[in-house]
């Protein structure tokens, strides 16, 4: 996939920079981009270590099992084939919990742990499994109940009621999330996994 997305992004950038006379900005952007990638990752390092550690404690103490059991009606409905894969389900439940609570920083490390466990039961290690597609798509949509960042910014810019948009944001997120899962599942049927499929090989590692 990224073997196509990456070059298309670069080629479009170059053509439009030349056409709109922004080649200087583009030139600076190449270097800035690489630098901000490392900055982004530094922020991620702290979160991955912190939540990796906290998650390990939750795991060892059996807390993740409790969460997983509480959420199994919902999670089991979205991932029917995983009902017996308790280990993967626990990490998925923790990731969804963090997302719903609006802890985006915690959700990513927990989600990566879930991906690792889904990979353990994946038949072809370079091709995404049906469950992975649904899980990643859920994480690309917003699952939180309270849009904290947005509400904070609205307050800063002088909103009378920063939380006024909450019902609309909730309804929109919910519909988009439901649609995302539906599209992912329909895709799983149409575009069923072929072991020898070579598309998208290479970049997205």
């Amino acid at each position: 996939m990224m073997n196509y997305v990456f070059p298309v992004m670069l080629i479009i950038s170059f053509i439009s920079a030349v056409a709109t006379g922004r080649i200087d900005a583009l030139s600076a952007g190449v270097i800035d981009g690489a630098e901000s990638a490392v900055q982004l990752l530094l922020r991620l390092v702290s979160m991955l270590c912190l939540w990796g550690g906290v998650m390990e404690i939750a795991e060892e103490s059996g807390m993740t099992k409790v969460f997983s059991r509480l959420m199994s009606p919902v999670v089991g409905m979205i991932f029917p084939k995983l009902r017996k894969e308790k280990y993967a389900l626990e990490a998925i439940s923790m990731n969804i919990t963090a997302n719903v609570l609006g802890l985006g920083n915690a959700a990513t490390p927990l989600g990566l742990e879930a991906m690792r466990r889904l990979q353990d039961i994946n038949s072809n290690k370079t091709v995404a499994s049906n469950e992975m597609v649904v899980f990643v798509v859920m994480n690309t949509a917003a699952m939180h109940i309270i849009p904290t960042t947005v509400a904070t910014l609205r307050g800063q810019y002088g909103s009378e009621s920063p939380m006024q948009i909450m019902p609309a944001a909730f309804l929109t997120s919910f519909c988009a999330l439901a649609a995302a899962i539906a599209v992912a599942k329909i895709g799983n049927r149409i575009n069923s996994k072929k072991p020898a499929d070579k598309r998208g090989e290479g970049y997205a590692r």
């Binding site: 990456f6 950038s13 807390m63 947005v150």
Partner: protein, 173 residues
């Protein structure tokens, strides 16, 4: 609900998990270190793909390509009553979280957070996440090369958020 309700969630979660571990007689700090070490390894796996992605996104932003693309999108989003002013922000949000946040702030500044434009922009920002980033991070951490229809499904959800946002703002505010 106290004003700083959100500030309670994070500390409560961390302290709660550690307390639960103590009750269950887990060696909490040893556990913490072993988990944190795994996190460090993940970062090593992620650096190459994140660098490639962020460079491409920054180039796209700096080249002015987003303005051209968003002018192409106007007729479509106008059909759903989405104000023209937020199309650039909405188009940037699947590929760059920081970039779309900057545009969101400029919408709040120019139109005000309680205007229709400001409210639709808030709903869009509150109901989408950085799709391309999530897809890249999640799959590159475990070495998946063929992501199948993940990106298509994620972008469909983003598009739906955009067209639904204006509708739900009219309905509920």
């Amino acid at each position: 609900m106290p004003d700083n309700f959100g500030s309670y969630i994070l500390p409560l979660m961390v302290v709660g998990i550690v307390l639960f571990g103590l009750i269950k007689r887990v060696k909490v700090f040893d556990c913490f270190m072993s988990g944190a070490r795994k996190g460090l390894h993940t970062v090593y796996e992620l650096l190459p793909s994140i660098t490639g992605l962020v460079v491409a996104v920054t180039m796209l932003k700096e080249s002015g390509a987003m303005d051209i693309v968003s002018s192409l999108f106007h007729p479509v989003t106008a059909l759903f009553g989405v104000p023209e002013e937020i199309t650039p922000m909405a188009l940037l949000s699947p590929i760059s979280g920081g970039g779309s946040l900057t545009l969101f702030e400029s919408v709040l500044k120019t139109h005000g957070p309680d205007s229709f434009v400001g409210q639709v922009a808030s709903v869009v920002m509150g109901s989408t996440d950085t799709t391309l980033y999530a897809v890249t991070v999640y799959y590159s951490a475990i070495g998946i090369k063929n992501t199948r229809h993940t990106l298509a499904a994620g972008l469909t959800a983003d598009f739906l958020s955009l067209v639904l946002s204006a509708f739900f703002v009219r309905l509920t505010v």
